[in-house]
């Protein structure tokens, strides 16, 4: 353990340039490996292991325990940051340049802060010297009573060991969160070294896409986990911690679009700097909200004295970055002007305005209760009703422009062209809306969601068909081969459209699940059945099972559709360690039309009380989210391929 500390101390002083990055990586890997080893070998002499681990916790949860609490999650943060630093370093070594070196220095600075946290307020390697020490006492709820019993440890928070997604969701989210350090590092490097222009925006833009893809996937996995585990049938509650990941996502999405404007039209550079800095500041704010226990939320598993440190760092980042930005403002102004609002860049401006307001709504809604309590001592809660009332119209506004943007050319569109291109998607969208309204559901939000989603998607398809047709008419080749060629030629554009299709899909899924679900609460005796949302649900029997790390108590139910048997569902409550309340775990039956979602409310030998829900088309939320992330990933890969192609081209030319 001393070795680990030694290395971390050694790295503590590093804010230098290149070779320390290797040390950073090494130190991060050693820290993480040491923590994992301690967990997997049940080394209860470490306070972290004693408080978070249990010998009975099965794989992969024992492995994932490394990031189940504050100290470990900071180690994960350090590891991911080291990984990104290493990636940046590889890029740097390939083409030596001051911009990359400066970016590495900035990342080193951020790393110093986070490794400093590990050494001070959030040391994961704190050693338990006595079982009665604060924290260590929790090793056993009754130290005097367990003299003979083997030391087991309480295990991680029950909610965190209830589903495999918990092992996946945090690392993916961190890849997104921490990845947003890279664009920030390039931006600060460009400002500090006075080298604004195409290079920083190209690199910042690309690294944002990487992080954004992970962040998108992380948010979707988080929603999915909440849905599968938290037993309220929801996936998004505008909880402060969810908002903490959503704010940087919104800002990064805005930057992905406005960064493109700078690359293509050489404008908005100042705004791009502001955005990149804001994105990074929002990730730190998010970490602060998540990890300081400031805001009570269903996610605040971890509370510690780390808050002031993170807040101080946030202020430092904001003040430092914007001071630097202000002193360099004469360099960053771009002179190009927008020719026409009816153009691709015009639609991106609208997109940026909407996303900025959107992000601001989430921000103010999240921190307003804090502010109010600070000044007036008055209690207020800002919850779903507030967010939905503002976010829903903003989302539809976004979809409106999402349908227009891809149809518009850069610089401006000749009069009448937009109308000629957009009228078909509008008609198709409206037709889909009418179809929905007449045959599926008359609920306003559902109809509106289908209308807008189909309008966006058909606009994309129409663009593809139009371009392929034009090529086919010229080349005489088949429409299909030309379609592939169109897709292959401008891959980054189509990757973006894939993300748009993903977002449209998510919107439809949300609208259906939120508005068309059925809900009922029933109590059944064994053998009794109930009709619900087209299913017949038969209560077979209660059951109990003892698993290594938990006691399971649940109800076994058969689900029938008509006379056909569909599935056996087992909603349950899991009891971990000394926890007597139990973690209620829903049973979910997924079908193409949507999910049947059963939650245990109460059970005894005579009867079971159940909450029944349906979530129509909920899979579209997961699918759409994954498509959105896939669009980002495709865009990154397409850039790499096109650059490799360009290099090969150059070599061939020589």
């Amino acid at each position: 353990m001393l070795v680990v500390r030694g290395i971390r101390v050694g790295r503590g002083g590093v804010s230098d340039l290149v070779s320390p990055a290797r040390l950073l990586g090494l130190g991060a890997i050693v820290s993480m490996t040491a923590l994992e080893l301690a967990l997997l070998t049940d080394d209860f002499s470490l306070a972290y292991v004693a408080n978070q681990h249990s010998t009975t916790t099965p794989f992969p949860f024992d492995f994932a325990t490394a990031w189940a609490a504050l100290e470990g999650s900071i180690v994960l943060w350090g590891l991911v940051l080291a990984g990104f630093t290493w990636m940046t370093l590889r890029r740097y070594r390939r083409s030596p340049d001051p911009l990359g070196a400066g970016a590495l220095a900035v990342m080193g600075g951020v790393a110093v802060f986070f490794f400093g946290l590990m050494l001070t307020v959030s040391n994961p390697f704190e050693v338990c010297t006595s079982a009665l020490e604060v924290g260590c006492a929790q090793t056993s709820p009754f130290p005097w009573a367990t003299v003979d019993a083997p030391l087991q440890g309480p295990g991680p928070n029950p909610l965190l060991q209830n589903h495999f997604l918990m092992a996946v969701h945090p690392p993916v989210l961190y890849l997104g969160y921490v990845g947003l350090t890279v664009p920030f590092a390039y931006a600060i490097s460009a400002l500090a070294l006075r080298v604004p222009g195409p290079e920083w925006i190209r690199r910042s833009h690309r690294s944002t896409l990487v992080a954004w893809s992970f962040l998108t996937l992380g948010i979707v996995l988080g929603g999915w986990w909440a849905y599968e585990v938290l037993s309220w049938g929801g996936y998004w509650a505008w909880d402060p911690v969810e908002n903490a990941s959503f704010m940087p996502w919104l800002a990064a999405t805005a930057f992905i679009h406005s960064g493109l404007v700078q690359q293509r039209r050489k404008m908005l550079q100042a705004w791009n700097f502001v955005l990149v800095i804001t994105v990074f500041a929002l990730t730190i704010l998010g970490t602060f909200l998540t990890r300081s226990g400031t805001i009570n939320s269903v996610h605040s598993f971890t509370q510690s004295a780390i808050g002031p440190a993170l807040l101080g760092f946030l202020v430092l980042v904001l003040v430092g970055s914007f001071a630097l930005f202000a002193t360099r403002s004469h360099l960053v102004s771009t002179s190009s002007r927008i020719d026409s609002f009816v153009s691709r860049e015009g639609s991106f401006l609208a997109n940026n305005l909407i996303l900025t307001v959107y992000g601001f709504v989430v921000l103010i809604g999240t921190i307003y209760p804090l502010l109010l309590e600070a000044f007036t001592d008055e209690q207020a809660a800002v919850g779903e009703p507030f967010f939905n009332r503002l976010a829903v119209p903003l989302s539809f506004l976004l979809l409106l422009f999402m349908g227009l943007g891809p149809l518009l050319p850069w610089k401006g569109s000749p009069a009448g062209q937009l109308w000629a291109r957009v009228r078909v998607p509008i008609v198709i969208g409206l037709a889909a809306g009418v179809t929905t309204s007449l045959w599926i559901s008359r609920v306003g939000w559902v109809v509106l969601a289908v209308t807008f989603a189909v309008y966006v998607i058909s606009g994309i398809v129409a663009t593809l068909v139009r371009q392929a047709r034009a090529r086919a008419a010229k080349s005489g080749l088949s429409l299909r081969s030309e379609t592939w060629r169109v897709l292959g030629k401008d891959q980054t554009f189509w990757a973006g459209q894939l993300s748009h299709i993903g977002v449209a899909t998510v919107v439809v899924g949300i609208a259906f699940a939120a508005n068309l679900g059925h809900h009922a609460e029933v109590s059944l005796e064994p053998g009794e059945e109930t009709e619900f949302a087209g299913y017949t649900i038969v209560y077979e029997s209660p059951f109990q099972a003892r698993e290594p790390n938990r006691l399971v108590q649940g109800a076994r139910l058969s689900v029938l559709s008509g006379d056909d048997f569909v599935a056996t569902l087992e909603p349950r409550a899991n009891f971990y360690g000394a926890d007597t309340t139990g973690v209620v775990t829903p049973a979910v039956l997924s079908r193409p039309g949507g999910d049947l979602y059963l939650t245990l409310r109460d059970i005894d030998s005579e009867q079971v009380e159940l909450i029944l829900d349906t979530s129509p088309l909920i899979w579209m939320v997961w699918l759409g989210g994954i498509l959105t992330a896939a669009g980002g990933a495709w865009s990154v890969l397409a850039r790499r391929i096109s650059r490799a192609g360009a290099r090969r081209g150059q070599t061939a030319d020589v």
């Binding site: 006492a137 929790q138 709820p141 009754f142 009573a145 309220w232 509650a237 909880d239 705004w271 502001v274 804001t278 400031t294 009570n296 269903v298 807040l311 202020v315 904001l318 914007f322 930005f325 202000a326 403002s329 004469h330 960053v332 102004s333 002179s335 190009s336 002007r337 927008i338 305005l353 307001v357 601001f360 921000l363 809604g365 921190i367 307003y368 804090l370 502010l371 600070a374 809660a381 800002v382 919850g383 779903e384 009703p385 507030f386 009332r389 078909v424 008609v427 409206l430 009418v434 309204s437 008359r442 609920v443 306003g444 109809v447 508005n515 059925h518 000394a578 007597t580 309340t581 939650t599």
Partner: protein
């Protein structure tokens, strides 16, 4: 078909479809009942940021039941909300009203939208056609200033939030004489903070016990345990405080860990301090009986308790039930 005619067809189609849509769509959501609608607007007092419609906690279920009752009685949404907010401290509206102190919350987003629009429009109007590379134009600079202002506001907000934290913890942690009478509205976290910073205060045991009782009621034995233990170990606990703590520790040892021996020794310690403690006697009997140790001693303890004239009526009924079960030879309830 001429372009003009085609235009007409599209326009007609759009208008036609839009009219059909407007006629068929219903604006009011169907699936949400009035009860769950009201429930979704009120924050559950004992949970962390959940509405009472979403929360599985007992209090939330009680509140939902009250809503259902009032809806059936035909009371208006507003009246029901007002009643709940009044009756349950800590229950707050999740949908802050567009007035008073939360008015700013509603005004800020449109204000930002308007500022953004104004910035874009001015930027477009004022930016001159590029005179050449590297020219600085005032429009861009102005936009930039707007951006800085916006983020400056963010900094301010964050800093203010920081002071909130200080404020909230400051006076609470400074409470020198924690008075258990006024603890009803104090959150668990605040109490933990106060206890942590006043651990050696002679009168902290009252607050410790109040907090431990909360955890105990909620079944959170792990959190309750260190506080009871600290009260016992403090050496400054009053007689009832020590007895309560020992009894609770004993019951937690039995119920949470089935540590029968530990539980019995703890009850005995409590009885050493107060030989007439009804709770200690009753629980000792229960553990002797349910832990399959000594049903006869349990019977003796229960019978002796029934002789106590100060035994409350409900307890008497409970013990009589238990004795009946004991006599019938069935297992403990």
């Amino acid at each position: 078909m001429s372009e003009r005619a085609r235009n007409g067809v599209f326009l007609a189609a759009i208008i036609g479809l839009a009219v059909v849509l407007a006629l068929t769509v219903s604006v009011r959501p169907q699936s949400e009942s009035r009860v769950s609608h009201i429930g979704s607007r009120i924050k559950c007092p004992v949970c962390q940021g959940e509405s009472i419609a979403d929360s599985p906690s007992q209090m939330a279920q009680d509140m939902m039941a009250l809503i259902a009752e009032r809806v059936a009685e035909g009371v208006s949404d507003e009246a029901i909300e007002a009643e709940l907010l009044d009756a349950y401290s800590g229950a707050v509206l999740l949908d802050p009203p567009m007035s008073g102190r939360t008015l700013a919350l509603w005004l800020a987003p449109p204000a930002v939208a308007l500022i953004g629009l104004a910035v874009i429009v001015r930027w477009r109007r004022q930016s001159p056609i590029a005179a050449g590379d590297g020219t600085v134009d005032p429009g861009s600079a102005r936009k930039l200033a707007g951006g800085i202002l916006l983020t400056g506001a963010m900094v301010a907000i964050v800093v203010i939030a920081a002071t909130t934290l200080q404020d909230r913890e400051g006076p609470a942690a400074g409470v020198a004489n924690p008075d258990t009478q006024d603890l009803e509205n104090v959150s668990n976290e605040t109490m933990e903070a106060v206890i942590a910073s006043n651990a050696d205060h002679p009168e902290i045991n009252g607050m410790r016990l109040a907090l431990a009782e909360r955890y105990y009621e909620a079944g959170d034995y792990r959190s309750a345990f260190p506080h009871y233990l600290a009260v016992v170990d403090s050496g400054q606990a009053t007689q009832p405080e020590a007895v309560t703590s020992l009894v609770r520790l004993g019951w937690m040892a039995y119920e949470g860990n089935t540590e029968t021996e530990t539980a019995l020794s703890l009850f005995d310690r409590a009885l050493e301090i107060d030989p007439s403690s009804q709770v200690a006697l009753y629980l000792k009997g229960t553990v002797l009986w349910c832990g399959d140790r000594d049903a006869e001693s349990a019977r003796a303890l229960f019978t002796a308790l029934l002789d106590d004239p100060e035994l409350p009526e409900e307890s008497r009924a409970q013990i009589e039930d238990d004795l009946a079960l004991l006599d019938s030879g069935e297992g403990c309830a």
